[in-house]
């Protein structure tokens, strides 16, 4: 990727302000510019360090020198940032190893595992997922809510504070407008003397409904810090250099559905509506995704909820469409201990917690305050059919596990285990986890017992739960539309259902409309909306606008002589 900063991007890169709030719309290159600023900072710090060392060498002095600087890039979604860092590899260049990317939870977990064992958090340490905490009999561990406070408690200790303060000279926070009070405090505690680059876009704040964030006051807080400056990036989109989709998205966010930008995007085929003919819309989504792949496009598919994503993922899997289900880190993570329990049972451990581990996994695939019925039945043993299936599974697990168990067979039984006892929901994450389990079994030395596999899978579980581990990335990704930020794909497909709930907000949906903006700005080439006959009023005006703008044939400016509006 060739990156030439322009306009105020250059200001971000060259500024030495202790706090920079970088504001810019979707696709304006906030992350890329921040990576370039990180490199510029590391180069400058290295030059300074080299000069100090050179002078010390010439003077023949023993000098205790500072460590080479590092930059911490914090985000809410590791996958999203990693995606961008991968593409920006040429920007960060040889400094890549010194740009550390982590989620807030992942970084807090790293602090806790590094220093907690000596200061009040004795091993074994583990992350307690929401699902695991909900199922009776939860083991001790730190819940997500406890991670940041624990890390901050450790950061209050002088030696630990000194360590991180000496480690990072710059901290970049992506999606800064979405940080809550605790995350903001954590951000400032990690390395108080580090420079801060805070990337934000008020238009992309889509968590305020359930995360209690106040983007305006957050940005005000940051700008109130000594020496803080604000830099607004130019509006042109790097993602879609034509500016068509960003302009349409901006109009949609402001609910100006009669804006020519939306009409043009629809006429040019950049923004298209597909009506569902099936009850679920899965067939249409699968068809659109296949066509996009035929053109070599990467595809992101968005649904309204995790549950909807899981169901769609299961349908795509049935249809043979390879994909990755993004964002179900909890389901993916909890599949690993469930599979571990199956291995333990297969190798003769009658006390292996199969029922509970499977119940946790099932719970991780559902949303809601209560345990799913299937999880309840697994724990209570009250469903005869389920008991029969479980019994059959246990027999198969033990069948091949003699004195010299056939690990390949065992891996196969485990990969298919969930299908036999669970609902169909969640098969994708189970399958992804089964790949890890198979690898662990392959590399295991069973002469040493199960402890090695157990430690490995539980470590992977912990890393996954805090966003430190991502499954293999796929050309087709499916996710909840709240996980779309920071991601991009050639083609995006949004599946809308008739019964979706977007809170109590009424027209003109000042907050909800940001979703339209975020979703529409993810696409580099095409944004598809797969809609029912009657979509939620949040979306329906956009659907109507596209419908009314669309003609029978696609409009090609070059052929028709219709001039393309200037969006950039």
């Amino acid at each position: 990727m060739t990156y030439e900063p322009r306009g105020t991007q250059y200001d971000v890169i060259t500024s030495s302000a202790p706090v920079i709030v970088v504001r810019g719309g979707a696709g304006t290159g906030k992350t890329t510019t921040a990576v370039a600023a990180a490199r510029a900072y590391l180069e400058m710090a290295d030059r300074h360090l080299l000069e100090t060392r050179r002078l010390a060498a010439i003077a023949d002095q023993r000098t205790r020198l500072a460590a080479p600087q590092r930059v911490l890039f914090l985000s809410f979604s590791r996958t999203a940032v990693t995606q961008i860092i991968d593409r920006a590899g040429s920007i960060i260049g040889p400094y890549g190893p010194r740009l550390e990317v982590a989620t807030f939870d992942g970084f807090a977990w790293r602090i806790v595992t590094s220093f907690g064992p000596y200061h009040g958090y004795p091993p074994p340490l583990s992350v307690l997922s929401v699902a695991n905490a909900r199922v009776p009999g939860a083991p001790p561990g730190l819940t997500y809510d406890e991670l940041l406070p624990a890390a901050m408690k450790l950061l209050a200790l002088p030696r630990i504070a000194e360590h991180y303060n000496g480690r990072y000279g710059m901290i970049i926070c992506d999606e800064f407008q979405d940080t809550d009070v605790e995350e903001w405090a954590f951000l400032r505690t990690i390395a108080p003397s580090a420079r801060l680059i805070l990337l934000g876009d008020l238009h992309q704040c889509i968590y305020d409904g359930f995360k209690h964030v106040d983007p305006n006051s957050r940005i005000s807080d940051a700008l109130a810090l000594p020496g803080a400056i604000e830099i607004e990036l130019p509006p042109a989109s790097f993602r879609d250099p034509t500016g068509v989709l960003p302009a349409a998205a901006e109009a949609a966010r402001e609910r100006r559905f009669d804006d020519p930008a939306i009409a043009y995007a629809a006429k040019a085929g950049r923004l298209s509506i597909t009506r569902t003919t099936s009850a679920t819309g899965y067939a249409e989504v699968i068809d659109l995704a296949r066509n996009a792949r035929l053109q070599g496009h990467t595809v992101s598919i968005f649904t309204h909820t995790n549950a909807a994503t899981t169901e769609l993922s299961d349908a795509m899997r049935q249809a043979g469409l390879n994909h990755e289900q993004v964002g179900l880190t909890e389901a993916y993570g909890e599949a690993l201990p469930a599979q571990l329990a199956l291995i333990q049972y297969a190798l003769g451990d009658d006390a292996a917690p199969i029922r509970r581990a499977l119940a946790v996994y099932i719970t991780a695939n559902h949303r809601g305050k209560y345990l799913p019925a299937l999880a309840e039945q697994l724990l209570s043993g009250t469903n005869p059919q389920l008991e029969h299936a479980l019994s059959g599974l246990c027999q198969d697990l033990r069948a091949g596990a003699g004195s010299a168990p056939d690990l390949a067979d065992l891996s196969g039984v485990i990969a298919g285990a969930y299908r036999r006892v669970g609902t169909f929901r969640g098969q994708e994450t189970w399958t992804q986890a089964a790949e890890r389990t198979r690898n662990a079994l392959r590399g295991a030395n069973l002469d040493h017992g199960m402890a090695g596999i157990e430690a490995q899978l539980l470590r992977l579980r912990d890393e996954s739960l805090v966003g430190g581990l991502s499954p293999r990335r796929h050309s087709i990704q499916a996710m909840n539309l709240h996980q779309t930020k920071g991601r991009e794909a050639d083609t995006t497909i949004l599946l809308l259902r008739p019964d979706e709930w977007y809170g109590y907000e009424q027209d003109p949906y000042p907050n909800g409309s940001r979703l339209l903006y975020v979703v529409m700005t993810r696409a580099r080439q095409r944004a598809h909306l797969v809609v029912p006959s009657a979509a939620h009023p949040l979306w329906q005006p956009l659907v109507d606008a596209c419908d009314s703008s669309r003609t029978g044939t696609r409009l090609h400016p070059q052929r028709t002589g219709v001039a393309e509006p200037e969006f950039t």
Partner: protein, 536 residues
Amino acid sequence: MPDGGDREGLPVEEVITRADCAEVEVTLTDLDPDLQQLFDGFLEPLDPAGHANEADDADSSAPQCVRLTYRLSYDADADVTEAFIYFPVRSDPAMSQYSRLPAATRRALPVINLNSAQPLQLRSGGALRRILDARDPDAAIAAFTTLSDAVGAAVAGLSADSAMAGTVSQVLETGGAGTRLGDTAVTAADIGFFAEDGTVAALLRTLQPALRLDQAGPLALSSHGSSTTAVLSAAEAMLLANLPGAVILADDFGDQLDAAAAQHLTALLRARSGQLWLSTRRPEAARAFEPVELVRLVRHDGVRAHHQLDRITDRKALSAMRQLHTQLLTAMSAPTVAITEGPHDVAVYSMVDRRYPPDRLPLSAHGVRLVAAGTGQDGGIDQIPRVADLARKLGFRVIAVIDKDKDSAQAATQVARIEAACDNVIRLPPGAIERAMLAGISMDAIVAASATLTEYGIPDPVDGRTGEAAVTELCKVVHKQGLHEQLLESLYAETGAHPPLIQTVLALIAALATTPPSENKLTDLTDIARPVAAIS
């Protein structure tokens, strides 16, 4: 086979103990900020004793440290050895799970191996190159580029030289070689020369240092003495040791240096490095260290062991500690020390011992070094237990050679203390070293030898007398004047033989040094009568 062979002609079964692996764990402390950050994720708090604190309530103000374990294992079935370094804090050897130290981190450790490689090397990784890069990397690159360009130009000139071109052309024309090599005919103009593969790195590899030390002009470093190489290597190491916390490793240091240079360079290395690990056989090198910094490696009865002195706060023990540098360090490479009461004893035994070869083996052949409990005023029988304690803590086998004082409770206590501190004790017959020298020597020889002492400006102590009173007088004078070696020299001239009692003592020391210690530590020697004068 610890006892070294079979006994009573019976075959001894060889017992070999196999270990799964050998591990050495080190704790790195006082970490440079750079290193501390490299070890992020593997840091542990340091306890006051200098170990990693694994408790869950460590002192929050404790500095950080990191543990590294070197593991060497051998697979007998595959006949393969494996060696690696891992972080014990994130590993579980019982489960064969190791968090290995990355090679890049290992290379970043500020460890300088002061080996026998040539100093002043410009090649990548050479000490001089590292120093050069630290001082001004840009200037170094510019200088190398200039060198490369100049060599390129010089070699091009060489190729174009008519004599050279003509010779190459002749080669190419022979058998039509030039026409068979390329798409078109190859001529002398197509042939040039590179240093190795033509890279700057190769060029720098080929450059070797040359020194002008005298009128002989510049000579390759390898043509100079080994001391020159050793001094320059040490100087480079000292510059590199300016890295904060640098650890310098030196094996067999000082072997190529004279005594003064060995002591001087060791002291400098110790002062300038963060930590210095130096193995040496040279007492001069050991002198640069505090007594508690010395670790003495020994092998007794086939068993390897190491010995290190504890920090001493007892005032009396401190006075003995002074003897370390003056007496024990000189013996550091000998397995056994024989401690005498003072320097006169050492002078006498040493002189006789020196005259043993070639007919007899000297004490050094039995691994024994003679030392005095003191250098004069601070010596004496009271000092022997303290020096012996010190010596045994350093792993020496200790034999004391003492005088027999008058029988008394105090003397008995004194001997008991010496026995407790030593492996063996040899007690002379009544009288000090001077009388032992003269034991078994005829009066005629004594009279004649005494007469030679007048050469040293004193009256003849015996002055022709032949009674034991005259011998006592001689002993007093010799002791007072310190004329032991001079008297011995005269005795040798008169008798042509070793003094018999001294010879007995040396033989006994040699025998005790090579046999396992026994319960009965004290050996009392009896006096040797003088031969009766021949009747003329």
